[in-house]
């Protein structure tokens, strides 16, 4: 009997051990993967520890029209040689999946509202919010539109097939590490997933609006103060398209919209808005300004810094094209790059293409609303959200003439969203990139851009034949003057957008007299441009310093351009200190703390990584700003109210130093800018002295703490704190979380030469030496010469991997 008991006991323990180690471990804060399969060297994470050796692989892909050879260089950049464009797209899909499959999946899920499916009920609210903002809806519409154009659609299909070819080769042991850690499986790629990914770029780049804040501010302060605090035009602005450019527009100026405060007060949003400090620089200088006589084009798009990186470098050569640059895993083609004849780059336009409308419900169940004097029924869209370890959630979303009624727990009550990304995208949207990849001159570039919709981008261009150009490109709504700054009345069609600016009337310039074109997210034009457009907060400093420096430069070399991309000088710091330092110079505190005062007065306004002055300035300025606008901060405790822009604050210091906004209403004394400057200077000194107690040396990088986070927030896969300078309003716009996600410099000579670097690496696998191998170079401002080759043989000595697709 005893031996039976012993056996059964041992059996139960063994089975319990296996079952226990095969189940995800739930803790209060997170779910850990099954430990047994994760640790097993046959199936688990050890399988993702990549071997470092040269290899030569043969891969069979059914239905290729010819052989495709891919050689990977010493940074694992693939150089694809194919007989047809379709074969190239298919192999690009395979390659993207091979190095970035998990990134593609998680980015798509985050945008499309499909996170609960893998992470469980905690993510339902976030998924719901994404669905209600209409991402799934917009992606469905995009796919339908793409289907109308068989030629472009074939490219996307080939790309999708390549991704699925790769997924089909995977058994669980081969899954990318994050799939194992999050305990789910890759599912086949679809064209809709590509559409969702493209919409994620729209969410990042053209979803920012301040309609709620502006409406509340207008109501709170009244029209007069509103106009005083939030003027739309900064007189010191240096626009993208030079003043004096012929607009080629024949319209009568749109009528003025009066400022009428709304009855409603708008509450906080359920989720944060896209980061305001996402921006970018691009420019091209003509041969007249360069040492070699060749045009040079530069681009550095600033995005959230993540590992894996958003960009993936690639060269694609077919009989139709030879194009090199960065691509987005999930999208076919090269997005920012160059070929033998031209180079192109992008920055964000930032016009307001996201408007909110108040809905007047006409029945209690809120299924009908007032539109042009008639009760109009909403249309319903059913969103099904799958939930790991639970039943699917069905969410019914109301759609109005304007768009979805977003109202989620804690935000957007009674409002509908009108957003450009919901519009029919144009059937040949991706033709933009295919066209740019193949373009030979200005006309090809212009033609390619006509297919582009959103997010609107400033497309900079340079060609070997000497042309340079820039276009504020995308579908830009025509609005009445002032329209769309505030939440609008949704009961009348009159408040709709008035159409779209024709593509040949968007702001643009070719070969301007000044010898360069540039953009840095500032105003597209000066106020003379006939169409109205707005955004609360065009960039005010990078554009100015860029144009200032480019105008002053001559005999430009590639090295000069590298230095400019890494330039950390701030006009804002210069302007502020010129005004504020004299106000504190004679104070007792400034005399006593002469090291701090002198550091500021000797500072060259460069956010260099090893300096302390940037810390003093930043603490001082942010304290000064808060004390000046204490009224706005107080209002924000109740509901969101717009904060005045920095430039407006600086103008106030300069022009009206005794304005009542500088006075703290609750104190007996009457404060002017002088008192506020001194008070905030003293607060800064206190803060700095307490910092000094903890640290021997104060350094800007150590204070700023720039870090490249992991896309899945796994901190072990993120970077360390980087020893890097920079600041959002300097050209090298590195904040703690954002920065240049790709730096590219292309010289268009007889043979095109190019340099680039991005803060990451080609492989998305944390177990690869190519996961973050470029981070140090990026941090130090170094570049790699890009290996733009005609044949695989040119790479002979640098090859890390060869793949032959048959």
């Amino acid at each position: 009997m005893l031996k039976y008991v012993g056996f059964v006991f041992a059996l139960i323990v063994t089975i319990a051990l296996c079952v226990g180690l095969n189940r995800p471990i739930k803790t209060s804060s997170s779910t850990l993967p099954p430990l047994g399969s994760l640790l097993s060297p046959a199936t688990g994470f050890w399988q993702n520890a990549e071997r470092h050796r040269k290899s030569n692989q043969k891969i069979n892909l059914e239905g290729l029209s010819g052989d495709v050879k891919v050689v990977y260089d010493d940074r694992l950049v693939p150089h694809v040689f194919a007989d047809t464009d379709l074969d190239a797209m298919r192999v690009q899909g395979y390659i993207h999946a091979q190095h970035r499959l998990w990134q593609m999946d998680i980015s798509m899920r985050a945008t499309g509202g499909q996170l609960a499916e893998i992470m469980g009920p905690d993510l339902i609210a976030r998924d719901k919010s994404q669905r209600r903002l209409g991402f799934d809806y917009a992606a469905d519409k995009a796919v339908k539109a793409w289907q109308q154009n068989p030629e472009t659609f074939a490219y996307i299909e080939a790309y999708r097939d390549g991704i699925n070819d790769y997924i089909a080769t995977l058994s669980p042991r081969d899954y990318p590490l994050e799939f194992k850690l999050l305990n789910y499986k890759p599912t086949p790629w679809t064209i809709k997933k590509t559409a969702i990914f493209i919409k994620s770029m729209a969410q990042t780049l053209c979803f920012r609006e301040d309609d709620l804040e502006a409406s509340n501010a207008l109501r709170h302060f009244g029209p007069e103060t509103f106009e005083f605090l939030y003027p739309e035009w900064n007189p010191k602005q240096s626009p993208i398209i030079p003043t004096g450019t012929d607009w080629n527009v024949n319209i009568t100026a749109p009528e003025e919209e009066g400022l009428t405060p709304s009855k409603n007060v708008y509450g906080y949003r359920p989720y944060d808005k896209p980061d305001p400090f996402l921006g970018s620089n691009n420019w091209a200088v003509s041969g007249d300004k360069t040492a070699s006589g060749n045009p040079i084009l530069c681009n550095d798009p600033h995005l959230s810094l993540t590992l894996p990186s958003i960009w993936y470098e690639i060269q694609i050569k077919t009989p139709n094209m030879n194009s090199y640059g960065v691509s987005l895993p999930g999208v076919p083609g090269v997005i920012i790059g160059f070929n033998n004849d031209i180079a192109w780059g992008q920055t964000n336009v930032g016009h307001d293409v996201t408007d909110w409308y108040d809905i007047q419900w006409t029945n209690e169940s809120e299924t009908k609303y007032m539109l042009d004097g008639e009760e109009t029924p909403v249309e319903w869209r059913i969103e099904k959200i799958n939930v790991a370890g639970g039943e699917p959630i069905i969410d019914s979303v109301k759609y109005t003439k304007w768009g979805p009624v977003v109202h989620t727990e804690g935000g957007y009550e009674g409002m509908a969203l009108r957003w450009i990304a919901h519009d029919i995208t144009g059937d040949a949207e991706l033709q933009t990139f295919i066209g740019l990849n193949q373009a030979k001159n200005y006309d090809d570039y212009s033609e390619a851009l006509t297919h582009y919709v959103s997010p609107a981008q400033n497309y900079v261009f340079a060609a070997r034949d000497g042309d340079i150009a820039i276009k504020v490109n995308g579908k830009l709504p025509i609005k009445r003057r002032g329209q769309g700054r505030f939440v609008q009345d949704g009961s009348t069609s009159e408040n709709d957008w008035q159409g779209f600016i024709p593509m040949d009337e968007v702001p643009q310039v070719k070969n301007p007299a000044r010898g360069f074109v540039s953009s840095a997210n500032q105003h597209s034009t000066d106020p003379s441009y006939p169409y109205y457009y707005n955004t609360e907060g065009f960039e005010d400093y990078r554009g100015r310093i860029l144009n200032e420096k480019l105008s002053a430069m001559d005999n430009i070399t590639v090295e000069d351009m590298m230095a400019l991309q890494n330039d950390t000088e701030s006009i804002k710091a210069r302007e502020v200190l010129e005004l504020l330092l004299p106000l504190v110079a004679d104070t007792e505190e400034a005399q006593r703390e002469s090291s701090i005062y002198n550091a500021l007065s000797n500072w060259n306004f460069n956010y260099a990584r090893d300096q302390a002055a940037p810390i003093f300035f930043d603490v001082w300025w942010s304290t000064f700003y808060k004390q000046t606008w204490d009224e706005v901060y107080q209002a924000n405790e109740e509901y969101p109210v717009l904060y005045p822009e920095s430039w407006r604050t600086i103008a106030l210091i300069e022009e009206e130093p005794e304005h009542t906004f500088f006075d703290h209403q609750e104190t007996v004394e009457v404060e002017t800018v002088k008192e506020i400057a001194q008070q905030s200077f003293n607060t800064m000194i206190e803060k700095v002295n307490s910092m000094k107690e903890e640290k021997d040396e104060l350094r800007w990088d150590d204070y700023k703490k720039t870090k490249i986070r992991h896309l899945g927030q796994i901190s072990a896969f993120a970077s360390e704190v980087l020893e890097v300078g920079g600041k959002g309003d300097a050209l090298n716009a590195i904040s703690s979380t954002n920065g240049p996600s790709w730096r590219m410099i292309v010289e268009l000579g007889e043979k095109v030469t190019a340099y680039g670097v991005y803060p990451g690496g080609q492989s998305g696998n944390p177990g690869s030496r190519f996961y973050d191998d470029m981070v140090d170079d990026w941090t130090n401002g170094d570049y790699f010469q890009l290996k733009f080759v005609d044949s695989p043989d040119e790479l002979a000595t640098d090859i890390t991997l060869t793949q032959s697709f048959k």
Binding site: L17, S37, P41, W46, A49, E50, R53
Partner: protein
């Protein structure tokens, strides 16, 4: 000699099953060996445990060496700051316990039909 054959048998079987079955097949490998070998239960447990610990430990160490320790550093951080050696030891220990229990069950099962 039997002990050595038991060790080799378990490792070979676990390795083969690992290619086609989930990770817990190491318990089956231990069980088969345990049912076959005629030794004291505690010795059989130790043979099974050592076999799988060796298999998992050595293959983890090999993966780690060919990877220059890149992944182990990151995974170690994820597991609360373990170094590569500790991570390999944890791997070996978890595999060892499962393999050993499989072997013990096999050994006790053999006892039933004697």
């Amino acid at each position: 000699m039997r002990i050595f054959s038991g060790l080799i048998l378990t490792i070979a079987l676990a390795y083969a099953l690992g290619a086609i079955m989930p990770w817990w097949s190491v318990a089956i490998a231990g069980f088969v060996m345990g049912a076959w070998i005629d030794r004291a239960h505690w010795k059989v447990f130790l043979i099974g445990a050592s076999a799988i610990a060796l298999l998992w430990g050595i293959s983890a160490a090999a993966h780690n060496a060919m990877n220059d320790g890149i992944l182990a550093d990151r995974m170690g951080a994820l597991f609360g700051g373990l170094g590569a050696v500790s991570l390999i030891a944890v791997t070996a220990a978890v595999g060892g316990v499962v393999g050993g229990m499989g072997a013990l069950t096999g050994s006790l099962g053999r006892n039933l039909i004697r």
